[in-house]
Each structure stands twice: as C-alpha cells, then as structure tokens.
Amino acid sequence: MLLETPFHPRTAPLCRSRRWRNWSGYASALTYEPGHEYEYYAVRSGAGLFDISPLRKYEIAGTDAAALVDRVVTRSAFDCPVGMVLYTPWCDEAGKMIDDGTVQRLGADTFRVTSADPCLRWLQDCALGMDAAVRDVTRELAALALQGPTSREILERVVTGADVAALPFFGLTGGSIGVAPVTVTRTGYTGDLGYEIWVRPENAVGVWDALAEVGRGYGLAPAGLDALDVARIEAGLLLKDVDYVSTWTALIESRKSSPYEAGLGWAVQPRPGRDFVGSRALAREAAAPSEWGFAGLEVEWPHIEKRFAAVGLPPLVAGRASREAVPIYAGGKQVGYVTSSTFSPILKKYIALATVRREFARPGHRVKFELTVEFVRHTVPARVVRTPFFDPVRKRR
C-alpha cells in the first residue's frame, strides 16, 4: 500500500478527482479537481500549494560536511553561504548524472540535501574517511511548495520570526508558522515566484491549515503533479528518468547523460584542486565535448493546427504534459528526441525539452518535430530556443 504523507488528512478529502500517483512510495495527487488547468493557473496567477513531502531528504553534519557536499555535487558547495540553497546535479565516477536536487546550507557544518530517489548509501560511501554524518530525514521532515505570484504575500502574513519579503532567490531562513518551527527556502519547481516550507511531520497539518486559511484571499489552490509538470517544462527544469536517465537506472551506457549533455554544464564548477566525484571524467568531456546536447524547442503551432485541419480535426494534442519520446529531424535525418513536451497555456505555444546532437543545440536552429495525425506521421517545424520558456521577473525579484 502506498504511504501517506503527513498532509494526507488534508489532501485526501480535497482530492475530488481521486487521481493519485505513486511518488517514491507515497500517494501523491495528480490533480485535486478533475482537470489540472485551474491548479496550473493558480500557480501562474495566484498560488499553488503542493505537497512535496515524498522528496528524499538527507541531513549532513560534521566538520567535513561542506567538504563532503563539495565532493558529491558538481557545484562548489564552499561557494554556498550559510542561508543559501544550491540547485545541482551529482554524478558517478564516470561523470554521468545520478540525480539532481537542492542543497540547503543550514549552518557552517550542516546541510540538507534533497533528491528524487534514495541515495543514503551513496552519500555515506562518499563520506568514508570524513567527519560528516549523513542521516536520512525523509520521514522526519514534511514539505510544501507554495508557488505563484501571491506566495510571498501569503507567507508574509503567515510566517513569524523571519523576513520573508527580504528572502533572496535561493535564500533560506528559519521562522515559525503558528507554533511550528519551519524552514522556508525560496525555491521551487515551477519557475515562478515561490517558496518551499520544511516542517516536522507533527506540525504539518497546522501549517497546511494556516496557509490555506490565509491563502483564501490570495487565489491559493492545492495543486497536483499534473499542474506541476506543465509548469516545470515551461521553466525548463529537468525531471529525472524522463529528461535524463540516472546512471543507476540506465540499462545501457548510451542512456546515461552527463550534466553537459543535459544542459546543466553551467552547474559543473571545476576549480584547480577541486576533486568531486566525476570531476576527472567531466574535465575530459569539457575538453572533448560529447556529441549530444540539450535543447528547448518551440513547435510552430499553426503547422500543428494545419495538419489536424487537413483531416477535419481540431488540434488534438494532449492537454497535459507528455513524457513520450518524440523523434526530432533535420535534413531528413533524425538528430535527437523530445523527452518532455506540453502545450504552454500561458505562452500559447507548444514547447518541448529535447536531447539533440550538439550541433543542433544552439538557439536559432530549425528542426522538425514528428507529429502523428490520424495514424499518419508528419513533421512540423520547430525552433531551438533558450530555456526557461517562461521566466517572469518576479521569480528572482
């Protein structure tokens, strides 16, 4: 049976669609209402409240905690001041991605790492010979993501003992909601203004209630994974085992991806003398780049409409995000594949994340996207564009 998150007493009655999904062993709502559109728009125009408790969380403490984190992740942990959060991938010794997540620096010698999948043993193996204890705190910590333009105002009214308004993008602060001590981070998976709230499970329901109560006047809606999926594609954010395959789950070498191949080259931060797991392999790759790269695509909507109109149909593209791999062509040859795609309600465009041959990864390139209409395959033009597709100023301000 699927586990229930600490918010289940609140999310279960709200989930009128009864559409649940297994997220790391927890029942997680795909949508609360029958469709996800309302929840999506809450994120973009009010605030969406997501239960993200199933994330794996690890606490790392000890005099070598910073050294350990620095050894595990591709970004330089020493450059992360106390009270800040890093988004970063981490790799195996061959420089292939294992997972990606955030690293919160709670103190000089205390960190909290979130990941999509379990990696306690990995962190502990990396810690051999170091003074750094790694603890799995997944079940000791519930988490909510409050995402959307009104999220700051809601939190300002709910959180005490912290200046939420002053919290910078990727900042971290302690505070309270009611009687519950919380950690608030200005992070999220929607590419919008947003926060994540970390709280002990026994205080979870109280925090939910406080947010829901105040949020009523700010367009707050509980939101599920379907809405999140559309928002994260608009934000150009990767999903493990969809947009890249973890080296731990890849059955064959060619399925694995390095951060460079996954568009996360910016997160690889080598420094002379810095030795992180995979650093040598990544240095080699930096010198002799892989033939694969990452691209954001905008598919020409009028062409999609035209293809459907030709057989007398309105454009029947799924209302939800698609995780189906779709071939990409150029010059009559396949040059890559789309890993995630969605119609973007706010941009009114069809957008996609893709793995393509490196020479096609630069913005401006024109490629063809395979489209099947009435069991017949066609191609429609698409353009490589910079990600995020949607990048509101409020996200960082």
Partner: protein
C-alpha cells in the same frame, strides 16, 4: 632532492621481490619499512634473549624457488631444510599419526589406523600435486582482467590456458569441480579415517575464518600445495636461520642491484596530486617524491589509511570497505628447555605438529569464531624451528611456535582494548554483563590453549621457560595486518583472481595513477610465495612502457 623511480611501502617479502625485479631493470628503488626488520610477516627476530624466533610465518613451502634461481642469490642464498616428517597429528594419550617424506613410511603409519586409507594415500598424494600444478598455472600468471576483456586481454589468457591444457584437459575439468568444495567433502570422497581427514583438513584453514565445512576449502588445500612436493599434505619447507633468512636474502638481492632499504621508517601518507601518486610523506614529515609508489601494505590500509578514502571514488571505496579481513589466528611462542616428551620427538616433531584429531574437532573450534568467540578447544599447529636449525636458540633450548585457531579479531561483544581488568577472577571467567577486556579474553584463550597442550602433548608445560602470545590485535598493531588478517584479505572464492583485491582492479593497479599494490592482498594471494610481488613488478614495468594502455 633525489627522485626515485619507485618508492615501496613496507618491506614484506612481496615488496622485496618487487624491489629486486625493478632494481634489476635499473630503476632507482627505495623501500620503506615501518618495523626495525625486513620481511613483514615473514621475519625472524629475537623474541626471547638469545633466541631467534619466526615471529609469524613458519613454513616457506609455498615460496617459488625459481625466483631464487632467477636471481642467483649467491652467498646470501638461503639454505632450505626438509625434515623427514611432514606432519604429525596428535591424537591424545600419546598416540599420533605422522606423514613422512618417505611415502612408504607414511603408508605404514596410516595402515595402523586404516588399511584402505593407506592404500589410497599414494594416489591422493599424486592427485593433490597434479591438481595443484594446474592451479599454479592460474596463480603464476596475471589474473584475467574480465572487467575489461579486450582482445589483448584475451590474447594474454592464451598462454596460461594452453599451459593448463597441456597438463590434461580432464584434470582441468576436475580442478574446476573440486575448487569450491568444502575440505570435508573432498576428504570424505577419499578417506575413511577421522584422524587422517582432520589432519589433512588443517591445510584448508589458513586464509579463512571458517572450518572444514566451509566452501572453498578444497581450493585452499590445493593453494597450499602449489609450492610442489606436498606429500599428500601441503608444500612445506623451512630455512636455516629461520624464515627471516629468506626475507634477508631478498633484501640483500635487492640491495645488490642498487635498491635502498630503510627500516624503522613509517610512511604516513601516499601523496596524490590530480589523481596520480607523486611520492610519500614519512611519519617524520619528510617528503619523498617518486615517479611511482608501490604499496606492500594490505589494500585497506593502503587506500584508507595511506591514500585516504576522500581521494578515491565512492564506488571504489565501497569495494575496499567490503574486502573481508578477518584475522582468526593467534601465535604463541614458547621457549623450552627440552623437546616435548614424545617418542622419537626429534623426528616426529620436525614438521607441523597438529592438534586436529578429527574434522568435527576443527569444525567445533571454528564454530566459536562464527560468534566472535575464541575456541574453547582450539586447533594447534606447532612448528619447532630449532629442529631445523639448532643455532636459533642457545644449546639445550628449543623454540616452539604455535599457530592457534580460532581467536577472532572481531570479538563479540566488542571488548575494551587493553590488557587486563586486574587480576583475573578464578578460572579466568568474565563477569556476566561486564564489558570484557581484550586482555582478559586472550588470557582465557591462553588458558584453554594450555589445557589443549596438556591433553595432546602432556608434559610440554613443564618444559616451558617463557612464552609470548601474539593475538590478531597484535598482528594489526605490530605487523600492520589490518584486522589481523594473515593473508591481507580472506582467501575465499569471492576474493580471488580478478576479484583480488577488489573486482575490476586485479592487475596491481589502482584508481590512483602510478600507485600500485604488490602485497598478499593482490592476486594470487597470501602466504610466503613472492608471487604477488613478482606479478606486480611485471605490471609496473608494463605500465611504464605503455602508460596509455592502463
């Protein structure tokens, strides 16, 4: 500063063999040994005043003599001793069973117990030698690099395969059949007599923490016969001047070719820069740069203590942490004013003298170790080197060195390190509930050893002038053997060949460039064989010729 081509960590006999080969090639070689003498576990030192004692290893029967021939040790060539008795099993009540170098004499002895066994014994002795000869082909060639099975690797396998095939295809198949067997099963196939089986099974015990019922015992029996001339037991030979003479001879041969050897010099760290070894740092903070570093210390010590886990990848570290290192042998040195009272003692006690009266006796002794306890009735393997070279002790004195099994390093509950809690309570019992002290546990173990000696070799105790017990904890602290493991890692089927020291790194190379391993923790394994050292030298020379082909 003088830059060495190779700095070797430790002057165990394997590192000395590596040093010989490298120095002969004109390499500038420096060997650094923590202890005051060379030889590591194969050393002879003054333990009692005026007495030279083989501190750990006794039997050099596994040593590859062709190495001596290859180097022509000249005046320093060690003198081998082959006493008439190979082994004597003490059966209590003054009874014994001796295997002699003379096959007819052996047959006569066995016939006193079982005529059928006596008839089969010559065939068994041939079988053991034949199987060991094939196994040796595998041991004396580099381990197959199955993890990177390129065309070149496949070609490198052709030679040993052809060599093995020449020894008889059917025998190769037979070898594959028996290798995983427990010693018990193999021996039950051959013999009926419990005394004989118990005695032969002792050759399966070194290198494992389990008894004769454990898988892989047959492999270890054959392994211990790969020195040739097993006489149905194990390859056995001793040295004038003790086993240390062999290590000294290796050291002399290395020095003669220009190698420097510094004893009393502990390496504190192996220096690594950008993933490559650059030299060593001594305990006295002196840095010695070198083109490559070769470690003769065990793999866990090398990687975790000398290199440091944070310098290595987590996947590799996991493997190193998982290497089974489990010392279960203690050694007890006795200074005697006469030989133990036994008819024909001078003859019968000149080989291995065993307390191993049956398979079940050994199995019970090993049971205790499974639960982290010392055997209440241990198995003893006694060697009296003064019968091989009387000059080791003053006239009228004898030395007996006893390997005692089982005394596990990993005691449960984990004891407090340190000698005694005070005067032992009567009977050496440990108060229930109290955290025991290691010293008390081993005092108790020593008491059980005396009992065993009284039972099987009565009268010996009256002749003891002095004794010294070396526990697995001492083997770690004094000899640098992690967890007191005498073979630098158990010799189970899961830690052999391409899986020794860890899967993927069987060729003496390491994830650190220009850092190599040459000790017993590498293929083909433990014992005083010199093979790991020789094979390592070959790989090191190859790596220099083809740095890219690593």
């Amino acid at each position: 500063m003088k830059k060495y081509d190779a700095v070797l960590v430790g002057a165990g006999h394997n590192a000395l063999a590596t040093a010989c080969v490298l120095a002969r090639r004109g390499w500038k070689v420096l060997v650094l040994e923590r202890r005051g003498v060379v030889g590591g576990a194969a050393a002879t030192e003054e333990v009692f005043p005026g007495c030279r004692v083989n501190v750990a290893a006794q039997d050099a029967g596994l040593f590859r003599r062709d190495f001596v021939d290859e180097f022509g040790f000249g005046a320093s060539a060690p003198g081998w001793v082959h006493p008439p008795a190979v082994a004597t099993s003490l059966l209590g009540g003054g009874d014994g069973l001796t295997l002699w170098r003379d096959p007819a004499a052996t047959q006569g002895e066995i016939a006193r117990h079982s005529r059928a066994d006596a008839n089969r014994f010559p065939e068994w002795a041939d079988y053991l030698d034949a199987m060991a000869r094939i196994l040796r082909v595998g041991l004396d060639h580099p381990a197959p690099a199955l993890h990177d099975f390129t065309r070149r690797e496949r070609l490198r396998l052709l030679r040993p395969l052809a060599q093995a095939a020449r020894l008889g295809r059917r025998r190769v198949v037979e070898l594959l059949r028996v290798l995983p067997l427990p010693a018990r099963d193999l021996l039950d196939d051959w013999f009926a007599g419990d005394a004989l089986k118990g005695m032969l099974a002792t050759t399966a015990l070194p290198g494992a923490s389990h008894g004769p019922g454990a898988m892989g015992g047959a492999f270890r029996m054959l392994y211990h016969a790969t020195g040739g001339q097993a006489h149905g037991f194990r390859s056995t030979s001793f040295l004038e001047g003790g086993i240390g003479a062999l290590s000294e001879a290796l050291a002399a041969a290395a020095r003669a070719r220009g190698a420097e050897i510094r004893t009393g010099t502990e390496v504190e760290r192996i220096l690594v820069e950008d993933g490559a070894a650059t030299g060593v740092l001594l305990a006295g903070r002196e840095e010695i740069p070198a083109h490559c570093v070769v470690s003769g210390a065990d793999p866990r010590r090398t990687f975790f203590d000398l290199v440091g886990a944070p310098q290595l990848g987590p996947e590799f570290n996991r493997k190193v942490a998982s290497i089974q290192m489990r010392g279960t042998t203690a050694i007890l040195h006795l200074l005697l004013d006469d030989l133990p009272p036994l008819d024909d003692a001078e003859q019968r006690l000149a080989g291995h003298t065993l307390v191993a009266p049956s398979l079940d006796y050994l199995e019970r002794a090993s049971d205790a170790a499974k639960y982290g306890r010392c055997s209440p009735r241990p198995h003893l393997d006694i060697v009296i080197p003064t019968l091989h070279d009387p000059t080791l002790a003053p006239p009228g004195r004898h030395i007996a060195s006893i390997q005692i099994r089982y005394a596990p390093y990993h005691l449960r509950p984990a004891p407090v390190r340190g000698p005694h809690a005070g005067p032992s309570p009567p009977g050496g019992d440990i108060a229930p509930g109290a955290t025991p002290r290691a010293g008390d546990i081993f005092d108790e173990f020593l008491a059980r050893t005396w009992d065993t000696l009284d039972e099987f070799l009565p009268g010996t105790r009256d002749r003891i002038l002095d004794h010294r017990l070396i526990t697995p904890l001492d083997l770690e602290s004094e000899f640098g053997l992690t967890c007191g493991d005498e073979y630098h890692g158990q010799m189970g089927l899961d830690q052999l060949a391409f899986m020794r020291p860890v899967a993927g790194w069987a060729r003496h190379r390491t994830p650190v460039e220009r850092l190599f391993l040459c000790g017993a923790g590498t293929h083909p394994g433990g014992g005083v064989t010199c093979m790991p050292g020789r094979l390592a030298a070959r790989e090191i020379l190859r790596a220099r010729r083809h740095p890219a082909r690593s």
